[in-house]
């Protein structure tokens, strides 16, 4: 953390290794202020806010709920709970389509608003410094906040880890390096003081010695707003180069501290906690106003929208409803991308709700998202290696992934690839490198799983062989005339159990089984003749 010894507020600009500078596309959505979102006809609230934390619904279909009411329970005290974004009736609790990287079916609570928007009372706190740390933390836990930067890890769990680790530095990540997203920019431009307040609260909770907010050099409006808010705060501001992917966790840590995290280690092991600006804002609001997190700032942009904007979108708002608010030019609208243009995924269905991680929706025209050109052979130009922020060799990884060369993929650090797509972006041969890498990572995971399974089979086979050997030996022992005169029990190996006897028994058993088999066939034939394709199902019923 040598560079942090004398951080220069807003003056020094820190860079990352590699990186690209795609044309920024934020001006359109930054033209207007953050807009409040009108009530949608239906809210779909996923119960899988983060995979590892299962939530159980605490309400039933038909229940009336008020705004801010908690709708779930969980055995985990740090789970990020779901709260009602507005008042209304629970329509159903069922599996709905949600966008979790790809569209998947997940259990959701469906809420039909009544339009009254009656809220539960919250207890605001004028000065958070008067509250004990445990109370601050409890308020953050109760707000049900997930990381809004990407993965959606529950903030309470992250803070819990930071408390037990020795957290030295808190970095607030406002480096929105994706060319289309402007949610954090808009947030800082209009509510910089609230974000910094949130940062101070989180800093108090995780007991970090310092707190740095990192912005990108070209976020001018946000920088000036932050700078004026800094006057009343202990937070320091730091600018990084306008490069993609400067906002990636490890890259930003390198830019801020000058320290490269070792492969496979977590930032907290180095005493660093990173939170997204939106998450920090939500934490601040949770403490100051006492209200749970029911909305986030979502950028709606793309050339297919008449008026791109940032909306304070309630969690669970249908994506189509959000897009309609900005006026979709139906003729030009070719695709909708969830997330940024570089890291996002194309939505196959618009019937998904927005969540706490929905930072951006791009209604793209064919000009925004041109058809990718056919993949050509790698010409070994090395551009990809120049831009890789992890300093990998994408051209080599590409060749290895093609050839399923798992050992080399490991050696060349495929698992370190952050799938940022910078290599993809510059490749003159239009090779979809990231897709190769994702497939390669999948193969590595599969291989590990298979290997572990094979290992267990191998062990069992060896033990089996050993058992056979042992049995053979003990049988030989028994055959010896002088040993074990008559004390041996009547077993199949002793002469008392005669061969005919055994054969008779087996024949009888075979006959019984045949009879049962016959009975079953008869039963099957007697029942629905068409369903005889699956005999064992009906066999179990009797």
């Amino acid at each position: 953390m040598s560079k942090l010894a004398h951080p220069v507020r807003g003056r020094r600009v820190h860079g990352i290794a590699g990186g690209i500078t795609p044309a920024a596309n934020k001006a359109a959505s930054l033209r207007s202020r953050i807009m409040p979102c009108p009530l949608a006809p239906l809210y779909t609230l996923p119960l899988t806010q983060y995979k590892s934390v299962p939530l159980t619904p605490a309400v039933q279909a038909g229940d009336y709920v008020q705004k801010y009411q908690r709708l779930t329970t969980s055995a985990n005290p740090d789970a990020a709970h779901v709260h009602a974004p507005t008042s209304g009736r629970i329509a159903a609790i069922r599996n709905c389509l949600i966008a979790d990287r790809v569209e998947t079916l997940a259990p959701c609570i469906e809420l039909v608003p009544d339009g009254a928007d009656t809220a539960l009372g919250c207890s605001p706190v004028p000065d958070f410094r008067k509250l004990p740390t445990s109370e601050l933390f409890q308020r953050i836990i109760d707000a049900g906040i997930c990381g809004m930067g990407g993965a959606g890890f529950p903030v309470a769990q992250k803070l819990r880890l930071a408390q037990s680790a020795d957290c030295q530095l808190l970095i607030i990540n406002a480096v929105e390096c994706e060319p289309f997203i402007s949610a954090d920019h808009a947030l800082l431009r209009e509510r910089a003081a609230d974000v910094l307040l949130g940062a101070e609260i989180v800093q108090t909770v995780c007991r970090a010695a310092r707190c740095v907010i990192a912005l990108k050099r070209d976020m001018h409006a946000a920088i000036s707003a932050t700078r004026s808010a800094l006057a009343h705060s202990t937070v320091e501001m730091l600018l990084v180069d306008s490069k993609y992917p400067a906002g990636a966790e490890r890259q930003l840590i390198e830019a801020v501290t000058g320290m490269q995290l070792p492969a496979g280690s977590l930032p907290l092991e180095a005493g660093i906690l990173m939170l997204n600006a939106g998450t920090t804002y939500a934490c601040g609001q949770a403490v100051v106003t006492g209200s749970p997190c029911i909305s986030r700032i979502t950028t709606l942009t793309g050339s297919a929208l008449t008026t791109p904007k940032n909306f304070e979108a309630l969690i669970g708002t249908p994506v189509t409803f959000l897009l309609e608010l900005c006026g979709v030019k139906q003729h030009d609208h070719t695709a909708t991308v969830l997330g940024g243009s570089l890291l996002g995924v194309e939505l196959a269905s618009l019937a998904v709700p927005s969540t706490q991680t929905t930072n951006c929706l791009i209604a793209a025209t064919s000009a925004d998202l041109p058809q990718s050109e056919p993949e050509l052979a790698c010409i070994r130009c090395g551009y990809c290696a120049d831009v890789c922020p992890v300093r990998l060799l994408p051209q080599q990884l590409h060749a290895f992934a093609r050839n399923h060369a798992h050992a080399q993929l490991q050696d060349y650090g495929l698992t370190e690839c952050i799938e940022c797509g910078a290599c993809d972006y510059v490749c003159p041969s239009h090779i979809p490198l990231v897709q190769y890498f994702r497939a390669g990572k999948q193969e590595l995971r599969d291989a590990t799983r298979h290997f572990e399974q094979a290992e267990s089979w191998r062990t069992r086979f060896q033990q089996h062989q050993y058992r056979l050997k042992r049995e053979k030996e003990s049988a030989r022992e028994r055959r010896r005339p002088e040993s074990q005169p008559t004390s041996a029990p009547v077993s199949r190996h002793s002469p008392a159990f005669s061969r005919e006897q055994a054969q008779n028994e087996i024949a009888a058993a075979v006959a019984r089984s045949k009879a049962r088999q016959q009975a079953r066939t008869n039963r099957l034939l007697a029942s629905v003749p068409k369903s005889s394709g699956d005999p064992e199902d009906s066999g179990g019923v009797a």
Binding site: R101, V102, T104, V337, S341, G344, V345, E346, L369, S372, P374, E375, A401, R402, H404, A405, G421, D424, H430, I431, P432, Q435, Y436, R438, A439, K441, Q442, H450, F451, Q453, A454, E455, S456, W457, R458, R460, F461, Q463, H464, R467, R492, I506, A509, V510, R512, S513, K514, R516, Q517, R520, E536, G539, G540
Partner: protein, 197 residues
């Protein structure tokens, strides 16, 4: 005058030298053989680590380890149907051999399966238990038997011995989680997640 070089001394030195040389040769030869044996062992281990451990015997050997020993002694690498092309490629990489297609004399690649015993038909003859190479069947004389699905390698060996034909092989349920696939040349897309379901 004494001769400067005593013939007896020369002879003694010569013998000593010869003995030492022989000893050295012996030690070297011994180390060489041990080394070679160890190499052979580690080669067998490395080959065995690449085999799928289904223990089905389709390769013509009693299990994966015997086949690994045979490969180390020059047996063809394309005799393992459960491993399929992946195993052949990995074996080829290890042994510096060109990958070949699976030898059809040993069978065809089938999707992963597990054995299933129709329990009301089982007569408790214990024949399947004796056939199972990984002890994945639970049961006892004249008692109902069942397969521990998690341990079953899908080797097929228990099906044939059953006198009442109550064991069947069932395919493992398909994995529905989205999977990334290698792009086909010419159809790669930049932003969309390509998944097979």
């Amino acid at each position: 005058m004494y001769p400067l070089i005593d013939t007896a001394l020369i002879r003694l030195l010569l013998w000593a030298f010869l003995l030492l040389a022989l000893l050295g040769l012996g030690v070297t030869a011994m180390r060489y053989w041990r080394r070679k044996l160890a190499d052979q062992h580690s080669l067998v281990d490395r080959i065995n680590a690449l085999l799928p451990q289904t223990q089905c015997g389709a390769c013509g050997f009693e299990g994966c380890l015997p086949y690994a020993r045979a490969i180390a002694n020059g047996q063809a690498i394309n005799q393992c149907p459960p491993g399929g092309d992946g195993t052949i490629i990995r074996l080829g990489n290890l042994l510096n051999e060109l990958p070949r297609t699976l030898n059809p004399a040993h069978g065809v690649v089938v999707e992963p399966r597990v054995a299933f015993i129709r329990e009301d038909e089982c007569i408790g003859c214990t024949k399947c238990i004796r056939a199972c190479p990984v002890d994945a069947i639970l049961g006892g004389p004249k008692l109902m038997h069942t397969v521990i699905a998690r341990e079953c390698t899908g080797c097929d060996l228990c099906v044939e011995p059953c006198p009442v034909d109550c064991i069947e092989m069932r395919p493992l349920g398909p994995d529905h989680s989205p999977r990334w696939v290698l792009p086909n040349s010419g159809s790669g897309t930049r932003t969309s997640l390509e998944v097979t379901r």
